[in-house]
Symmetry: none
Subunit: 111 residues, 2 copies
Amino acid sequence: MAASLLKHDVFQAIADPTRRQLLRLLGEQEMPVTAISGHFPMSRTAVSKHLRILADAGLVKPRKVGRETRYRLEPEPLLELKRWLSYYERFWENKMSALQRYVESDESDGA
Amino acid sequence: MAASLLKHDVFQAIADPTRRQLLRLLGEQEMPVTAISGHFPMSRTAVSKHLRILADAGLVKPRKVGRETRYRLEPEPLLELKRWLSYYERFWENKMSALQRYVESDESDGA
DNA sequence: ACTATATAACACCTTTTGGTTTCATGTCAA
DNA sequence: TTGACATGAAACCAAAAGGTGTTATATAGT
């Protein structure tokens, strides 16, 4: 189902603060472009282009309702980000365990 | 890229695939620039500029050892990414939310 | 059918990004 | 000191990103 022919990947899509705000907004509620652009200090066309990039990354999905096109959040691509991030969990887990080992060895040394 | 007065944030830093590879590499092992650039199909200077961006975001840290500058991964800033991502956990944890949004928007249609 | 609205598509401009080559500086080793 | 090596800095360039306004098209309401 998930097409891998995406022009923009999720990493690049969320790099822009405006697009992160868009995701936050569309997570709250499905909205058409005109209503969305009311929340941003830029033209509707600019917002539309950001939406296009998010759509290319699979992060939002349009739905036509009459003459409107409502956009909604599609959170699934964020799982790729989550998976990427999970690789680095061990680094701050290791730091934690290193501190724990230090404290524990200090205690066991005294004994 | 010439003048980067603003510090790069972690979102922008990880947007580039080369920089993600750099993080992966430096997670394995602390390395100097010349050794790093052997892993990439670009000039040493280009790698150095990517390292600069990662350093601005706090994701890598240089350590001078003689005439070398060894870079190592600094995973802490990734916690900001993890925190940002955690907001969206509810969307894939609560699969009903998509249906709820659909029903709510359908009602506002007056259909 | 006509008019107003929503939005996509197009053309264009400016800034940023990712890359290059060249040069300067600093460090190790004869 | 001389020379080789490691790195950063500067100048430059092509391409992409981010913005603008202006159409074009389809739909809603009258």
